[in-house]
């Protein structure tokens, strides 16, 4: 697994496909959180929203990197295609953790917020929830399932929009709305953890469906 993740990172770094999602993330962070003040949850809602879009993009980019022939080689070398998919998920997850740290401290550095340990915990849980949901959307919207890149992109865009803007839809929309309206991190921690669990379930389901569709398509 470590070898697979190392390989994925090497390919992503060499092809520089990480650049666009990274720029999007830092751009959104800059626009949404610079010079903010007051309670932290609304700021972390922005970090989480930015990470949601970035993680979807990163997933689509990373999984679509290998050509079908190259993917076949990796699958044969690994022995199981499910393990290759798990390796890709691991790679995106690690990248998202790096972004998460940035999203956690960038607002503190740029703005003047009242910060406490619960705020940081909430920020972590919220961003993790959004990252997992983003990966869950990105997995099926990739070359593995869609033959044409355009279709995959439209599908990803539609799902991201739906998750962000459908009123009260868990996990992303509901979590972000709660955080935007409530200033107290301690109150938000319980629902946020619930949303994290929902995101985990979503990711597992998405990975299973993607794997199923991939083996059917191959």
């Amino acid at each position: 697994m470590i070898a697979l993740i190392r390989y994925s990172f090497a390919v992503v770094l060499h092809t520089q496909r990480y650049l666009a999602p990274l720029l999007l993330f830092t751009g959104l962070m800059g626009v949404l959180t610079v010079n903010g003040n007051g309670p932290l949850p609304p700021a972390y809602a922005s970090s989480a929203g930015a990470l949601f879009v970035a993680s979807t993009w990163l997933t689509v980019a990373l999984i679509s990197l290998d050509s079908p022939a190259q993917r076949a080689i990796v699958v044969v070398s690994t022995g199981r295609s499910a393990k290759v998919l798990a390796g890709s998920i691991g790679t995106v997850l690690i990248s998202c953790l790096a972004l998460l740290v940035f999203g956690l401290f960038f607002p503190l550095w740029m703005g003047s917020y009242q910060v406490g340990p619960t705020d940081l915990l909430l920020g972590t849980v919220a961003q993790l929830t959004c990252a997992l949901t983003g990966i869950a959307i990105g997995l099926p919207c990739s070359r593995l399932v869609f033959r044409r890149r355009g279709h995959a992109l439209v599908a990803a865009l539609a799902l991201v929009m739906a998750a962000l803007f459908t009123q009260g839809a868990p996990p992303v929309n509901r979590l972000l709305r709660l955080m935007a309206t409530s200033p107290d991190s301690a109150d938000l921690l319980a629902p946020a953890t619930g949303m994290l669990a929902a995101a985990l379930v979503l990711l597992a389901a998405s990975a299973w469906i993607t794997q199923y569709l991939t083996t059917r398509r191959e």
Binding site: R6, A10, D66, S77
Partner: protein, 303 residues
């Protein structure tokens, strides 16, 4: 033994690409699937290695260590050939050090043009294919599957490819390859299937040999060293495909080889210090004429 039983494949509700295929791929043998473009050979190989799942039917006895060389290897990225192979070796469970050593050894053996540090996307098609071949050999495979290896790889690497195939087979592994030209297979496979109209038929060994022109080459070693009986030609002959028979007649060595392999055999023979006495075309349909008063025949009857 790797076995395909009633294997069929189609995508969605599309046409059957292969249908009701029965085939056996024994260890220690070289098996070929020959057939025209679009006959379903590549799909069959993808099913063999387990990348693609058959719509119906069973693949049994697939070994664990598989080397797969797809027909078109389009390496992406700016990774160097050596770095790429090291990554692949690690994925196969080698340590970084072992993977590096093996990668360098294989690239040396395949003589990659442009150097081991050449970035993958700068490689020509033939050289990219060498990297694809090397990745399949990082761990000695129990099953080596090559999709159209002869057309992708430059002619200069054909000898080494034949050598590698027979090595894998000799150590008990199964070798499977495809070729779209039915008549031209550069290593003599022990088993040949013809793919066409979605089905697969086993060809008899005689049928494979039909219509393939043969060249007879008579060699002599200048040291006067007599070819020994058990292994008359020495090990170098094993590396060249298409050798039909080798006979020692006194100091002469008579090698019958497929016409399309004659050049590389001659080249290797000269490099190994042999001297050429005669080269004759052996035309099977016109046996009588080609045996007329040629030097080789004269030399043989004189003996």
């Amino acid at each position: 033994m790797l076995r395909l039983e009633a294997v069929s494949k189609r995508y969605g509700r599309g046409e059957w690409i292969v249908r009701d295929v029965h085939a056996e791929i024994p260890g220690g043998e070289i098996t070929t699937f020959a057939g025209g473009n679009g006959s379903g050979k590549s799909t069959l190989l993808r099913i063999l290695v387990g990348v693609s799942r058959p719509t119906s039917g069973v693949v049994s006895g697939r070994p664990r260590l598989i080397g797969y060389v797809p027909d078109r290897f389009v390496p992406n990225g700016r990774m160097s050939a050596a770095a790429y192979l090291t990554h692949m070796g690690r994925i196969r469970g080698l340590t970084t050090r072992a993977a590096e050593t093996r990668a360098h050894h294989l690239l040396d053996r395949l003589s990659l043009v442009g150097g081991k540090e050449a970035r993958l996307h700068t490689l020509s098609k033939g050289n990219a294919q060498k990297v694809a071949l090397a990745q399949a050999l990082l761990v000695e495979p129990e099953l080596l599957v090559l999709d159209e290896p002869w057309s992708g790889l430059g002619a200069s690497a054909h000898g080494i490819l034949a050598e590698i195939m027979s090595e894998v087979a000799r150590s008990g592994g199964s070798v499977v390859f495809t070729d779209h030209r039915e008549a031209v297979t550069r290593v003599l496979p022990s088993r040949a299937y013809t793919v066409g109209n979605g089905g697969v038929v086993l060809r008899s060994p005689q049928a494979q040999d039909e219509h393939r022109p043969v060249t007879e080459i008579v060699l002599v070693h200048p040291d006067g060293a007599h070819p020994d009986g058990a292994h008359p030609g020495g090990a170098w002959l094993d590396g060249i495909g298409g050798v039909r028979s080798v006979e020692a007649c006194g100091a002469h060595l008579v090698v019958r080889v497929d016409r399309d392999r004659a050049d590389s055999l001659l080249l290797t023979a000269l490099q190994k210090g042999w001297s050429v006495v005669a080269v004759t075309r052996e035309d099977r349909s016109r046996d009588d004429r080609s045996h007329d008063a040629t030097d080789a025949v004269a030399a043989r009857s004189a003996r």
